[in-house]
């Protein structure tokens, strides 16, 4: 099995020639190494540049600047067909007039694989995806779910691919089927060990699929990390907000050493931060706030939403809104409450970016 480490070096892309300002770039300058055999997700809202980045890797877009390497080979100007990658698109792309078998075999046939080899690979993939029953049906006669499975299969059928790229592959899938396909994909990754890059706006899909998630916004890569790292130590307020449901609460404060003040109310921090200048904020996950703390932050509870396994509490403190998660065994009344923040779980942000404590108790971002 031949696979490769993919290196992006000083990459940037603008769709219009002669970009004047940074805003003209759909993808702002970035460097990244995609390790061989790992599962990655590119996560961000619509228009954040994640599909642009994916298409640069697959070679469908030539970047305005920077180089793309597969192992040590510079492939920046090598066309898609020669890059040996597979891609699965948002909408099922199947060859309507071919049977499912022919669809799966197509890419192999074009690469001159022998008949026996093709039929062996096709059978393996068909069994993995549960397509063996329909192998001899015309692709056009199948449902959208089945067609997308064929697209997945066409991506997986080649053993020698450098990487398999997924561009929001579950968009057209019925919600009930989504979970099933998601697990299938994950177990396929465990089984086959291909490098996979998965583009999505859905945090659940991204976090549950990937070993490492790349969070993007407005053409910029904000953070790359494991789901746990993104959750525990977001590098930017956007990441804090985007990951988690509801996202991280971000509050405007002033910080002095290990104390933060929200309109004069003291919030104790877990570390020393000195006196940072600029726009200072603290971030705290809804999971890490408790109700009824002694000497906590006085807050008004506006609504309580019971979502089954826990309750989401919407509160307001000093004019800033807060969400917190409480066990569904507790009874919560609207009105005044005193909120306690779990000290060690508080993040400090300056001008949007994570700010490290001054004594180095906490690792760098």
């Amino acid at each position: 099995m031949r696979m490769a480490k993919i290196t992006l070096s000083n990459l940037a892309h603008a769709y219009h020639p002669n970009p004047a300002s940074e805003d003209d770039y759909a993808l702002k300058q970035t460097s990244h190494v995609w390790e061989d055999g790992k599962a990655y997700a590119l996560l961000g809202p619509s228009g954040c540049g994640k599909t642009t980045l994916l298409n640069i890797i697959s070679g469908l877009i030539t970047p305005s600047q920077g180089r793309v390497f597969f192992d040590d080979d510079d492939v920046t100007s090598i066309p898609t067909a020669q890059r040996n990658i597979a891609q699965v698109f948002q909408f099922p792309v199947v060859y309507d007039t071919m049977t499912v078998r022919e669809n799966l075999a197509f890419a192999l046939r074009n690469r001159g694989m022998d008949k026996a080899g093709i039929s062996r690979r096709v059978d393996i993939i068909a069994v993995m995806l549960g397509l063996e029953e329909t192998l001899d049906c015309k692709a056009r006669a199948l449902s959208a779910d089945a067609k997308q499975k064929i697209s997945l299969g066409r991506g997986l059928v080649r053993e020698d691919v450098n990487a398999i790229l997924f561009d929001e592959p579950l968009t057209v899938i019925d919600p009930a089927m989504k979970l099933e396909l998601r697990i299938q994909l994950k177990s396929l990754h465990n089984e086959l060990g291909h490098t996979m890059i998965y583009v999505t706006h859905d945090q659940t899909e991204a976090l549950s699929f990937a070993d490492e998630v790349v969070v993007m916004d407005k053409g910029r890569v904000l953070q790359t990390g494991t789901p746990e790292a993104l959750f525990e130590a977001p590098a930017h307020t956007f990441v804090g907000h985007f990951i988690g449901s509801p996202g991280m609460n971000v509050l405007d404060v002033t910080v002095d050493g290990s104390r933060a003040y929200l309109d004069g109310n003291l919030i104790k921090l877990g570390h020393h931060y000195g006196t940072p200048a600029g726009k200072v904020q603290i971030g705290i996950r809804p999971e890490h706030i408790s109700l009824n703390a002694t000497n906590g932050l006085p807050a008004q509870i506006l609504r309580v939403e019971d979502v089954g396994r826990h309750k989401i509490v919407r509160a307001q403190a000093m004019g800033q809104t807060l969400n917190l998660i409480a066990s569904n065994q507790t009874t919560i009344n609207t009105g005044m409450a005193s909120l306690g923040f779990e000290r060690g779980k508080i993040s400090v942000f300056v001008d949007g970016w994570r700010f490290s404590p001054s004594h180095g108790q906490e690792g760098a971002m």
Binding site: S58, L60, P79, T80, A81, I85, A86, Q87, F89, Q90, F91, V93, Y95, D96, T97, M98, F106, A107, N110, R111, K138, R140, A141, L142, S143, A144, S151, R154
Partner: protein
């Protein structure tokens, strides 16, 4: 999606119903009436039964006109469809040139039939026509009023010039509806240009192409104006197509009975072929939408 059943809708359809009755059904009935009667003038008619039909079915004149008609439709379809698709494949997909191409392509379609006929009639004349004169000057023996082959060539070239645009435009519309992802997937699969055409473009154009072929078939099968203007059905009977023959019979010889029987059979043939097309097309769509 189903709509609310509303009986008042019938009221709104009624005017069209009456219009169709007056413009199509009633004239058709008079034709049916003529087709089963004979007359010796003085507006006196006699019952002739199916005599005209059987006479026509045994008439060599009709069969040879029918043969010429089939040949003409077949030739122009065989030329226009591949040519139209080829043009569509090579048209720019977006930008200013796409619009320019579209306008240029649409131009021939805007010219009335008899004007097209006249243009080509003059264009191909050996004495004053640009094409005819040039060919003659090059030493090619070309004269559509004398040589059946030249007459056919002129008519076929004219029809191809006039109508290839239609096929090209319809195919172009079909091509435009193919998402970019298909082409990208094909690149990744290392598909050849021919594969892309066979497995992506052709299947996606299938629907519009069927419509284009149907329209072109019906139109060419009923062609009248252009051969009438250019060749008048000649030389000899070599370009006397069904409709020209029909007009000769009905107006030239005033054989109302046979002409009426002729038109009915003509009508039935066109309908039959269209029905076959329609059935094939809807069946294809069913195969497409089955299972969603």
């Amino acid at each position: 999606m189903e709509k609310t059943v509303n009986q008042r809708a019938w009221l709104l359809v009624l005017p069209v119903f009456l219009l169709v009755a007056f413009s199509a059904v009633i004239p058709l009935m008079t034709v049916v009436n003529y087709s089963v009667q004979d007359t010796f003038g003085n507006n006196k008619f006699f019952w002739a039964g199916l005599e005209w039909f059987s006479e026509l079915l045994h008439s060599e004149r009709l069969w040879s006109a029918f043969g010429r008609q089939i040949a003409f439709s077949a030739i122009i379809l065989a030329l226009e469809v591949p040519l139209g698709v080829f043009v569509a494949l090579n048209m720019p997909k977006k930008g200013i040139w796409a619009s320019v191409c579209l306008v240029l392509m649409a131009l021939p379609l805007l010219i009335p039939w008899n004007v097209v006929g006249t243009i080509w009639q003059i264009f191909s004349r050996v004495d004053i026509g640009l094409l005819g004169h040039t060919l003659a000057a090059m030493g090619i023996d070309y004269n559509y009023t004398r040589d059946p082959l030249a007459a056919w060539t002129t008519l076929v070239v004219m029809d191809v010039w006039h109508w290839t645009s239609l096929i090209a435009l319809l195919s172009y519309a079909g091509l435009q509806s193919i998402p970019q992802a298909y082409y990208q997937a094909a690149k990744i699969d290392q598909a050849s240009r021919l594969d892309v055409f066979r497995f992506i473009e052709l299947p996606k154009m299938q629907g519009v192409l069927m419509i284009a072929i149907l329209i072109r078939f019906m139109d060419s099968f009923m062609i009248y104006t252009e051969p009438f203007v250019i060749t008048g059905g000649g030389p000899g009977n070599s370009t006397t197509f069904l409709s020209i023959d029909l007009v000769k019979m009905a107006l030239g010889q005033f054989d109302l009975g046979p002409a009426a029987a002729f038109s009915l059979m003509y009508f039935l043939v066109v309908m039959l072929v269209s029905w076959v097309f329609y059935t094939v097309m809807t069946n294809m769509e069913k195969a497409d939408t089955f299972h969603g």
